[in-house]
Protein backbone atom coordinates (compact mmCIF):
# COMPACT_ATOMS: atom_id res chain seq x y z
CA UNK A 1 0.00 0.00 0.00
CA UNK A 2 1.01 3.55 -0.35
CA UNK A 3 0.01 6.73 1.41
CA UNK A 4 1.06 8.87 -1.50
CA UNK A 5 -2.43 10.26 -2.00
CA UNK A 6 -2.72 11.41 1.61
CA UNK A 7 -0.91 14.69 1.78
CA UNK A 8 0.02 16.19 5.12
CA UNK A 9 -2.49 18.95 4.62
CA UNK A 10 -5.29 16.44 4.01
CA UNK A 11 -4.28 14.52 7.07
CA UNK A 12 -4.32 17.65 9.21
CA UNK A 13 -7.71 18.59 7.83
CA UNK A 14 -8.90 15.13 8.73
CA UNK A 15 -7.71 15.50 12.29
CA UNK A 16 -9.42 18.85 12.66
CA UNK A 17 -12.69 17.45 11.35
CA UNK A 18 -12.64 14.40 13.55
CA UNK A 19 -12.26 16.51 16.69
CA UNK A 20 -9.16 14.86 18.03
CA UNK A 21 -10.36 11.28 17.95
CA UNK A 22 -7.22 10.24 16.08
CA UNK A 23 -6.11 7.83 18.78
CA UNK A 24 -9.32 5.88 18.59
CA UNK A 25 -9.22 5.64 14.79
CA UNK A 26 -9.69 1.98 13.86
CA UNK A 27 -6.94 2.07 11.26
CA UNK A 28 -4.42 3.13 13.87
CA UNK A 29 -5.64 0.70 16.51
CA UNK A 30 -5.43 -2.21 14.10
CA UNK A 31 -2.34 -0.91 12.35
CA UNK A 32 -2.44 -0.21 8.65
CA UNK A 33 0.16 -2.17 6.74
CA UNK A 34 2.93 -0.59 4.75
CA UNK A 35 6.60 -0.88 3.90
CA UNK A 36 9.15 1.26 5.68
CA UNK A 37 12.88 1.22 4.96
CA UNK A 38 15.34 2.73 7.40
CA UNK A 39 18.89 3.54 6.27
CA UNK A 40 21.50 3.65 9.03
CA UNK A 41 21.43 1.45 12.14
CA UNK A 42 22.76 3.93 14.69
CA UNK A 43 20.97 5.66 17.57
CA UNK A 44 18.40 7.20 15.23
CA UNK A 45 17.81 4.47 12.66
CA UNK A 46 17.99 1.39 14.86
CA UNK A 47 15.75 3.05 17.43
CA UNK A 48 13.25 4.05 14.74
CA UNK A 49 13.11 0.59 13.16
CA UNK A 50 12.44 -1.03 16.54
CA UNK A 51 9.83 1.55 17.51
CA UNK A 52 8.01 1.16 14.17
CA UNK A 53 7.70 -2.59 14.62
CA UNK A 54 6.63 -2.20 18.23
CA UNK A 55 3.96 0.40 17.42
CA UNK A 56 2.60 -1.54 14.46
CA UNK A 57 3.66 -5.18 14.06
CA UNK A 58 1.79 -5.29 10.73
CA UNK A 59 4.40 -3.02 9.10
CA UNK A 60 7.19 -4.43 6.99
CA UNK A 61 10.31 -2.73 8.40
CA UNK A 62 13.76 -3.14 6.83
CA UNK A 63 16.92 -1.68 8.35
CA UNK A 64 19.86 -1.19 6.00
CA UNK A 65 23.17 -0.86 7.84
CA UNK A 66 26.69 -1.01 6.43
CA UNK A 67 28.26 -2.76 9.45
CA UNK A 68 27.20 -5.90 11.33
CA UNK A 69 28.49 -4.42 14.59
CA UNK A 70 27.72 -0.85 15.68
CA UNK A 71 30.40 1.05 17.58
CA UNK A 72 28.93 3.87 19.66
CA UNK A 73 30.55 7.29 19.97
CA UNK A 74 29.09 8.27 23.38
CA UNK A 75 31.63 7.28 26.04
CA UNK A 76 34.26 6.60 23.35
CA UNK A 77 36.27 9.50 24.82
CA UNK A 78 36.70 7.22 27.83
CA UNK A 79 38.19 4.58 25.55
CA UNK A 80 40.70 7.12 24.22
CA UNK A 81 41.71 7.99 27.79
CA UNK A 82 42.19 4.31 28.66
CA UNK A 83 39.21 4.25 31.03
CA UNK A 84 37.05 1.85 28.99
CA UNK A 85 37.33 -0.97 26.51
CA UNK A 86 36.11 -0.49 22.92
CA UNK A 87 34.04 -3.65 23.36
CA UNK A 88 31.83 -1.78 25.82
CA UNK A 89 30.95 0.54 22.92
CA UNK A 90 29.75 -2.22 20.62
CA UNK A 91 26.26 -3.47 19.87
CA UNK A 92 24.89 -6.17 17.55
CA UNK A 93 21.56 -6.23 15.75
CA UNK A 94 20.22 -9.55 17.06
CA UNK A 95 17.73 -7.84 19.35
CA UNK A 96 16.39 -5.73 16.51
CA UNK A 97 16.06 -8.75 14.22
CA UNK A 98 14.24 -10.56 17.04
CA UNK A 99 11.73 -7.70 17.12
CA UNK A 100 10.81 -8.55 13.53
CA UNK A 101 12.92 -5.97 11.69
CA UNK A 102 14.50 -7.28 8.48
CA UNK A 103 18.24 -6.57 8.64
CA UNK A 104 20.31 -5.97 5.53
CA UNK A 105 24.04 -5.56 6.15
CA UNK A 106 25.06 -3.56 3.12
CA UNK A 107 25.53 0.06 2.21
CA UNK A 108 22.61 1.79 0.55
CA UNK A 109 24.03 3.23 -2.67
CA UNK A 110 21.13 5.30 -3.97
CA UNK A 111 17.57 6.47 -3.42
CA UNK A 112 14.96 7.34 -6.04
CA UNK A 113 12.46 9.53 -4.16
CA UNK A 114 10.03 9.70 -7.12
CA UNK A 115 9.88 5.93 -7.72
CA UNK A 116 10.25 5.36 -3.96
CA UNK A 117 13.00 2.79 -4.01
CA UNK A 118 16.46 2.23 -2.54
CA UNK A 119 19.37 0.68 -4.43
CA UNK A 120 21.83 -1.38 -2.41
CA UNK A 121 25.57 -1.64 -3.04
CA UNK A 122 24.99 -5.01 -4.78
CA UNK A 123 22.43 -3.47 -7.13
CA UNK A 124 19.31 -4.87 -5.46
CA UNK A 125 16.38 -2.49 -5.55
CA UNK A 126 13.88 -2.26 -2.67
CA UNK A 127 10.56 -0.39 -2.77
CA UNK A 128 9.14 1.58 0.14
CA UNK A 129 6.10 3.57 1.16
CA UNK A 130 8.15 5.72 3.50
CA UNK A 131 11.92 5.99 3.93
CA UNK A 132 13.80 7.04 7.06
CA UNK A 133 17.35 8.33 6.68
CA UNK A 134 19.56 8.28 9.77
CA UNK A 135 23.03 8.00 8.23
CA UNK A 136 24.79 10.13 10.83
CA UNK A 137 27.68 12.24 9.62
CA UNK A 138 30.41 12.12 7.06
CA UNK A 139 33.65 14.03 7.52
CA UNK A 140 34.31 16.76 4.99
CA UNK A 141 37.62 15.81 3.48
CA UNK A 142 37.50 18.96 1.32
CA UNK A 143 37.08 21.46 4.14
CA UNK A 144 40.50 21.70 5.78
CA UNK A 145 43.48 21.88 3.40
CA UNK A 146 45.79 18.92 4.05
CA UNK A 147 43.28 16.97 6.10
CA UNK A 148 42.47 14.07 3.79
CA UNK A 149 41.27 10.58 4.64
CA UNK A 150 44.90 9.43 4.30
CA UNK A 151 46.02 12.18 6.71
CA UNK A 152 43.55 10.88 9.30
CA UNK A 153 45.66 7.72 9.58
CA UNK A 154 48.38 9.90 11.14
CA UNK A 155 46.19 12.56 12.69
CA UNK A 156 43.08 10.67 13.77
CA UNK A 157 39.68 12.35 14.03
CA UNK A 158 38.12 9.61 16.15
CA UNK A 159 34.76 11.27 15.42
CA UNK A 160 33.35 7.99 14.14
CA UNK A 161 34.07 5.41 16.79
CA UNK A 162 36.07 2.27 16.04
CA UNK A 163 39.54 1.92 14.55
CA UNK A 164 40.07 5.69 14.77
CA UNK A 165 39.29 5.65 18.50
CA UNK A 166 41.87 2.94 19.11
CA UNK A 167 44.43 4.70 16.91
CA UNK A 168 44.22 7.88 18.98
CA UNK A 169 44.43 5.86 22.20
CA UNK A 170 47.54 3.99 20.99
CA UNK A 171 49.19 7.24 19.93
CA UNK A 172 48.64 8.72 23.38
CA UNK A 173 49.91 5.55 25.04
CA UNK A 174 53.10 5.44 22.99
CA UNK A 175 53.81 9.17 23.35
CA UNK A 176 56.70 10.07 25.63
CA UNK A 177 56.00 11.93 28.85
CA UNK A 178 56.48 15.57 27.93
CA UNK A 179 54.97 15.27 24.46
CA UNK A 180 52.50 17.89 23.28
CA UNK A 181 48.99 16.85 22.24
CA UNK A 182 47.20 19.16 19.81
CA UNK A 183 43.47 18.98 19.11
CA UNK A 184 41.31 21.04 16.77
CA UNK A 185 37.58 21.67 17.22
CA UNK A 186 35.35 22.74 14.31
CA UNK A 187 32.85 25.57 13.87
CA UNK A 188 29.13 24.80 14.37
CA UNK A 189 27.22 22.73 13.49
CA UNK A 190 28.83 19.36 14.19
CA UNK A 191 28.11 16.04 15.90
CA UNK A 192 27.95 16.30 19.69
CA UNK A 193 28.59 19.96 20.61
CA UNK A 194 30.13 19.17 24.04
CA UNK A 195 32.08 16.18 22.64
CA UNK A 196 35.40 17.92 21.87
CA UNK A 197 35.50 19.40 25.37
CA UNK A 198 34.68 16.14 27.08
CA UNK A 199 37.48 14.60 25.04
CA UNK A 200 39.87 17.41 25.96
CA UNK A 201 38.99 16.86 29.63
CA UNK A 202 39.59 13.12 29.52
CA UNK A 203 42.84 13.44 27.55
CA UNK A 204 43.97 15.96 30.19
CA UNK A 205 42.97 13.42 32.84
CA UNK A 206 45.09 10.81 31.09
CA UNK A 207 48.06 13.17 30.85
CA UNK A 208 47.75 14.29 34.47
CA UNK A 209 47.71 10.69 35.72
CA UNK A 210 50.02 8.99 33.19
CA UNK A 211 52.16 11.64 31.41
CA UNK A 212 52.33 14.55 33.89
CA UNK A 213 54.98 16.45 31.88
CA UNK A 214 52.72 16.50 28.83
CA UNK A 215 50.07 19.01 27.88
CA UNK A 216 47.06 19.37 25.57
CA UNK A 217 46.36 22.42 23.44
CA UNK A 218 42.85 22.76 21.98
CA UNK A 219 42.63 24.96 18.89
CA UNK A 220 39.05 26.07 18.43
CA UNK A 221 37.22 27.63 15.48
CA UNK A 222 34.72 29.09 18.00
CA UNK A 223 34.70 31.56 20.86
CA UNK A 224 31.83 29.85 22.66
CA UNK A 225 30.85 26.22 23.17
CA UNK A 226 28.40 23.96 24.97
CA UNK A 227 28.57 23.95 28.80
CA UNK A 228 31.54 26.31 28.44
CA UNK A 229 31.66 27.74 31.95
CA UNK A 230 31.18 24.34 33.54
CA UNK A 231 34.02 22.91 31.46
CA UNK A 232 36.31 25.86 32.05
CA UNK A 233 35.67 25.84 35.80
CA UNK A 234 36.46 22.13 35.89
CA UNK A 235 39.62 22.62 33.84
CA UNK A 236 40.83 25.34 36.19
CA UNK A 237 40.17 23.09 39.13
CA UNK A 238 41.41 19.77 37.74
CA UNK A 239 43.82 20.40 34.87
CA UNK A 240 45.43 23.84 35.22
CA UNK A 241 48.80 22.56 33.96
CA UNK A 242 47.54 20.07 31.40
CA UNK A 243 44.94 21.80 29.24
CA UNK A 244 45.07 25.04 27.31
CA UNK A 245 42.09 26.19 25.20
CA UNK A 246 42.74 28.64 22.37
CA UNK A 247 39.58 30.42 21.20
CA UNK A 248 38.84 31.68 17.70
CA UNK A 249 39.66 35.25 18.68
CA UNK A 250 42.91 34.14 20.28
CA UNK A 251 43.92 32.53 16.98
CA UNK A 252 42.47 29.04 17.43
CA UNK A 253 41.01 28.51 13.96
CA UNK A 254 43.00 25.85 12.11
CA UNK A 255 43.45 26.69 8.42
CA UNK A 256 45.70 23.85 7.27
CA UNK A 257 46.96 20.46 8.40
CA UNK A 258 50.30 18.85 7.59
CA UNK A 259 50.10 15.16 8.40
CA UNK A 260 53.75 14.39 7.60
CA UNK A 261 54.91 17.16 9.92
CA UNK A 262 52.17 16.53 12.52
CA UNK A 263 51.50 20.26 12.37
CA UNK A 264 48.34 22.38 12.40
CA UNK A 265 48.49 25.91 11.04
CA UNK A 266 46.35 28.78 12.34
CA UNK A 267 46.19 32.44 11.31
CA UNK A 268 48.49 33.19 14.23
CA UNK A 269 51.15 30.48 13.89
CA UNK A 270 51.64 26.75 13.79
CA UNK A 271 51.44 23.97 16.36
CA UNK A 272 53.46 20.79 16.03
CA UNK A 273 52.24 17.94 18.22
CA UNK A 274 53.53 14.54 19.22
CA UNK A 275 49.90 13.50 18.84
CA UNK A 276 47.40 15.47 16.76
CA UNK A 277 43.63 14.96 16.88
CA UNK A 278 41.70 16.83 14.19
CA UNK A 279 37.93 17.05 14.56
CA UNK A 280 37.11 18.27 11.06
CA UNK A 281 33.99 19.97 9.67
CA UNK A 282 31.15 17.57 8.92
CA UNK A 283 28.04 17.01 6.82
CA UNK A 284 25.13 14.58 6.66
CA UNK A 285 26.07 11.01 5.71
CA UNK A 286 26.59 10.78 1.94
CA UNK A 287 23.36 8.88 1.19
CA UNK A 288 21.38 11.97 2.27
CA UNK A 289 22.85 14.01 -0.59
CA UNK A 290 22.43 11.08 -3.00
CA UNK A 291 18.74 11.01 -2.08
CA UNK A 292 18.49 14.75 -2.74
CA UNK A 293 17.57 15.37 0.90
CA UNK A 294 20.62 17.51 1.79
CA UNK A 295 20.82 21.20 0.93
CA UNK A 296 23.84 23.37 0.12
CA UNK A 297 24.95 23.36 3.76
CA UNK A 298 25.39 19.58 3.55
CA UNK A 299 22.62 18.94 6.12
CA UNK A 300 18.98 17.91 5.69
CA UNK A 301 16.14 20.37 6.33
CA UNK A 302 13.00 18.75 7.81
CA UNK A 303 9.67 19.86 9.24
CA UNK A 304 9.44 19.55 13.04
CA UNK A 305 6.46 17.19 13.51
CA UNK A 306 7.26 14.01 11.56
CA UNK A 307 10.76 15.09 10.40
CA UNK A 308 9.80 14.74 6.75
CA UNK A 309 12.30 16.19 4.34
CA UNK A 310 11.32 19.59 3.01
CA UNK A 311 13.18 18.70 -0.20
CA UNK A 312 11.88 15.21 -1.05
CA UNK A 313 8.50 13.52 -0.64
CA UNK A 314 8.14 10.34 1.41
CA UNK A 315 11.51 10.72 3.13
CA UNK A 316 12.07 11.37 6.84
CA UNK A 317 15.48 12.40 8.17
CA UNK A 318 16.45 12.04 11.84
CA UNK A 319 19.59 12.23 13.96
CA UNK A 320 22.81 14.06 13.18
CA UNK A 321 22.04 14.34 9.44
CA UNK A 322 18.96 16.51 9.99
CA UNK A 323 18.61 20.20 10.82
CA UNK A 324 16.60 20.01 14.02
CA UNK A 325 16.39 23.63 15.11
CA UNK A 326 17.35 24.04 18.75
CA UNK A 327 18.01 20.32 19.27
CA UNK A 328 21.71 19.43 19.26
CA UNK A 329 23.20 16.54 17.32
CA UNK A 330 23.39 13.86 20.00
CA UNK A 331 22.59 10.19 20.48
CA UNK A 332 19.93 11.17 22.99
CA UNK A 333 18.31 13.51 20.44
CA UNK A 334 18.55 10.93 17.64
CA UNK A 335 16.82 8.33 19.82
CA UNK A 336 14.08 10.74 20.91
CA UNK A 337 13.51 11.82 17.30
CA UNK A 338 13.44 8.17 16.22
CA UNK A 339 10.49 7.39 18.46
CA UNK A 340 8.57 10.50 17.43
CA UNK A 341 9.26 9.73 13.76
CA UNK A 342 8.10 6.12 14.13
CA UNK A 343 4.81 7.17 15.74
CA UNK A 344 4.28 9.78 13.01
CA UNK A 345 4.92 7.24 10.24
CA UNK A 346 2.45 4.78 11.75
CA UNK A 347 -0.15 7.53 11.71
CA UNK A 348 0.67 8.74 8.20
CA UNK A 349 0.39 5.20 6.84
CA UNK A 350 -2.99 4.92 8.55
CA UNK A 351 -4.07 8.18 6.92
CA UNK A 352 -4.14 10.23 10.11
CA UNK A 353 -2.16 13.31 11.11
CA UNK A 354 0.92 12.96 13.33
CA UNK A 355 0.59 14.32 16.86
CA UNK A 356 2.49 17.46 17.83
CA UNK A 357 5.59 16.07 19.52
CA UNK A 358 7.49 17.08 22.62
CA UNK A 359 11.14 16.05 22.72
CA UNK A 360 13.89 15.97 25.31
CA UNK A 361 17.65 16.02 24.98
CA UNK A 362 20.26 15.57 27.67
CA UNK A 363 23.98 15.47 27.00
CA UNK A 364 26.04 14.08 29.83
CA UNK A 365 29.77 14.86 29.73
CA UNK A 366 32.34 13.39 32.05
CA UNK A 367 35.31 15.66 32.70
CA UNK A 368 36.89 13.13 35.08
CA UNK A 369 35.74 9.63 36.09
CA UNK A 370 33.80 10.98 39.07
CA UNK A 371 32.83 14.38 37.66
CA UNK A 372 29.79 14.63 35.38
CA UNK A 373 27.96 17.67 33.98
CA UNK A 374 24.86 18.00 31.84
CA UNK A 375 23.00 20.22 29.45
CA UNK A 376 19.31 19.48 28.92
CA UNK A 377 16.47 20.85 26.84
CA UNK A 378 12.79 20.22 26.14
CA UNK A 379 11.63 21.01 22.60
CA UNK A 380 8.44 21.57 20.64
CA UNK A 381 7.59 22.68 17.12
CA UNK A 382 7.02 26.37 16.60
CA UNK A 383 6.85 28.18 13.25
CA UNK A 384 8.30 25.23 11.36
CA UNK A 385 11.25 24.51 13.65
CA UNK A 386 11.93 22.81 16.95
CA UNK A 387 12.42 25.42 19.68
CA UNK A 388 13.28 25.26 23.37
CA UNK A 389 10.30 25.10 25.71
CA UNK A 390 10.87 28.26 27.70
CA UNK A 391 11.79 27.86 31.34
CA UNK A 392 12.93 24.27 30.91
CA UNK A 393 16.39 22.83 30.34
CA UNK A 394 19.76 24.43 30.94
CA UNK A 395 23.05 23.27 32.39
CA UNK A 396 24.14 21.78 35.72
CA UNK A 397 24.64 24.39 38.45
CA UNK A 398 27.95 26.25 38.23
CA UNK A 399 28.48 25.83 41.96
CA UNK A 400 27.86 22.30 43.18
CA UNK A 401 29.45 19.97 45.70
CA UNK A 402 31.68 17.13 44.49
CA UNK A 403 28.93 14.70 45.46
CA UNK A 404 26.58 16.21 42.83
CA UNK A 405 29.27 15.93 40.13
CA UNK A 406 29.84 12.31 41.18
CA UNK A 407 26.09 11.61 41.00
CA UNK A 408 25.92 13.03 37.49
CA UNK A 409 28.89 10.87 36.46
CA UNK A 410 27.04 7.81 37.79
CA UNK A 411 23.83 8.83 36.02
CA UNK A 412 25.87 9.30 32.84
CA UNK A 413 26.92 5.66 32.91
CA UNK A 414 23.36 4.64 33.62
CA UNK A 415 22.20 6.71 30.66
CA UNK A 416 24.63 4.96 28.31
CA UNK A 417 23.38 1.53 29.36
CA UNK A 418 19.77 2.67 29.06
CA UNK A 419 20.13 4.23 25.62
CA UNK A 420 22.03 1.13 24.42
CA UNK A 421 19.19 -1.13 25.53
CA UNK A 422 16.55 1.29 24.24
CA UNK A 423 18.17 1.38 20.79
CA UNK A 424 19.46 -2.14 20.29
CA UNK A 425 17.23 -4.22 22.59
Amino acid sequence: MTDRRTSRRDALKWLGGAAGSALAAPALAQGAAGTVIVIGGGFGGAGCARALKKLNPALSVTLIEANAVFTACPFSNGVIAGLRDLKEQQFGYEGIARDGVKMIFQAAAGVDPQARNVTLADGTRLAYDRLVLSPGIDLRWDALPGYTEAASERMPHAWKAGAQTLLLRRQLESMEDGGLVVMSAPANPFRCPPGPYERASLIAYYLKTKKPKSKLIVLDAKDAFSKQRLFQNAWKELYPAHLEWVSLSAGGKVTAADAAGLTLTTDFGSHKGAVVNVIPPQKAGAIAALAGAADRTGWCPVEPVAFTSTLQPGIHVIGDAAVMGAMPKSAFSANAQAKVCAAAIVRLLAGTAPAEPRLINTCYSVVAPDYGITVAGVYKPNNGVLVDVEGAGGVSPLEAPASTRAQEAAYAEGWFKTIGAETFG
Binding site: L15, A19, G20, S21, A22, L23, A24, L28, A29, A51, L55, F332, N335, A336, K339, V340, A343, V346, R347, A355, E356, P357, R358, L359, I360, T362, T374, A376, G377, V378, V389, G391, A392, G393, G394, S396, T404, Q407, E408, A410, Y411, E413, G414, W415, K417, T418, I419, A421, E422, G425
Partner: protein, 97 residues
Protein backbone atom coordinates in the same frame (compact mmCIF):
# COMPACT_ATOMS: atom_id res chain seq x y z
CA UNK B 1 -7.85 20.08 23.14
CA UNK B 2 -6.41 16.93 21.64
CA UNK B 3 -4.12 16.56 24.61
CA UNK B 4 -6.97 16.98 27.08
CA UNK B 5 -9.03 14.42 25.18
CA UNK B 6 -6.07 12.09 25.23
CA UNK B 7 -5.47 12.31 28.95
CA UNK B 8 -9.17 11.94 29.66
CA UNK B 9 -9.17 8.85 27.49
CA UNK B 10 -6.14 7.41 29.22
CA UNK B 11 -7.56 7.90 32.67
CA UNK B 12 -10.66 5.82 32.00
CA UNK B 13 -10.59 2.05 32.32
CA UNK B 14 -11.10 1.58 28.59
CA UNK B 15 -8.27 4.01 28.02
CA UNK B 16 -5.86 1.91 30.04
CA UNK B 17 -6.23 -1.07 27.72
CA UNK B 18 -5.67 1.15 24.71
CA UNK B 19 -2.68 2.85 26.35
CA UNK B 20 -0.96 -0.51 26.67
CA UNK B 21 -0.48 -0.69 22.92
CA UNK B 22 -1.12 2.90 21.87
CA UNK B 23 1.37 5.53 20.95
CA UNK B 24 2.77 7.38 23.94
CA UNK B 25 1.54 10.92 24.71
CA UNK B 26 3.87 13.81 23.75
CA UNK B 27 7.17 13.64 25.62
CA UNK B 28 6.71 10.20 27.14
CA UNK B 29 8.86 8.43 24.57
CA UNK B 30 11.85 10.60 25.53
CA UNK B 31 11.72 9.67 29.24
CA UNK B 32 12.92 6.16 28.35
CA UNK B 33 16.21 7.61 27.18
CA UNK B 34 17.08 7.58 30.91
CA UNK B 35 14.35 5.54 32.61
CA UNK B 36 14.91 2.10 31.14
CA UNK B 37 11.98 0.18 29.67
CA UNK B 38 13.94 -3.05 29.95
CA UNK B 39 14.24 -4.57 33.42
CA UNK B 40 17.74 -5.85 32.79
CA UNK B 41 19.43 -2.44 32.59
CA UNK B 42 21.49 -1.54 35.64
CA UNK B 43 21.01 2.17 36.17
CA UNK B 44 20.37 4.40 39.17
CA UNK B 45 17.46 6.11 37.34
CA UNK B 46 14.29 4.33 38.58
CA UNK B 47 12.00 2.56 36.10
CA UNK B 48 8.68 4.22 35.31
CA UNK B 49 6.79 1.28 33.80
CA UNK B 50 3.79 0.15 35.81
CA UNK B 51 4.31 2.89 38.43
CA UNK B 52 1.32 4.36 40.23
CA UNK B 53 0.45 7.41 38.08
CA UNK B 54 -0.34 9.57 41.13
CA UNK B 55 3.19 9.01 42.46
CA UNK B 56 4.77 9.95 39.15
CA UNK B 57 2.61 13.07 38.94
CA UNK B 58 3.51 14.06 42.50
CA UNK B 59 7.23 13.56 41.86
CA UNK B 60 7.10 15.53 38.61
CA UNK B 61 5.24 18.43 40.20
CA UNK B 62 7.73 18.50 43.07
CA UNK B 63 10.65 18.51 40.60
CA UNK B 64 8.95 21.28 38.65
CA UNK B 65 8.39 23.49 41.68
CA UNK B 66 11.86 22.80 43.05
CA UNK B 67 10.44 21.24 46.22
CA UNK B 68 12.27 18.02 45.43
CA UNK B 69 16.00 18.32 44.79
CA UNK B 70 17.31 16.74 41.60
CA UNK B 71 20.37 16.56 39.38
CA UNK B 72 18.34 16.75 36.16
CA UNK B 73 14.60 16.23 36.68
CA UNK B 74 13.94 19.83 37.72
CA UNK B 75 15.18 21.00 34.32
CA UNK B 76 13.10 18.38 32.49
CA UNK B 77 9.87 18.66 34.51
CA UNK B 78 9.72 22.40 33.80
CA UNK B 79 9.09 21.54 30.13
CA UNK B 80 5.67 20.02 30.87
CA UNK B 81 2.41 21.36 32.26
CA UNK B 82 0.26 19.42 34.68
CA UNK B 83 -2.05 17.96 32.02
CA UNK B 84 0.91 16.75 30.01
CA UNK B 85 2.46 15.22 33.11
CA UNK B 86 -0.80 13.43 33.94
CA UNK B 87 -1.01 11.97 30.44
CA UNK B 88 2.58 10.72 30.60
CA UNK B 89 2.10 9.25 34.08
CA UNK B 90 -1.14 7.51 33.02
CA UNK B 91 0.55 6.01 29.99
CA UNK B 92 3.52 4.65 31.94
CA UNK B 93 1.17 3.36 34.61
CA UNK B 94 -0.76 1.42 31.97
CA UNK B 95 2.31 -0.26 30.48
CA UNK B 96 2.71 -3.89 31.50
CA UNK B 97 6.11 -5.29 32.33
Amino acid sequence: MIRAALSALLLTGAGAALAQSAEAPPGAAACSGCHAISKSVETPAPRLLGREPADVVAAMLAFKSGARPATIMDRIAKGFNEDEIRAIAAWYGAQKD
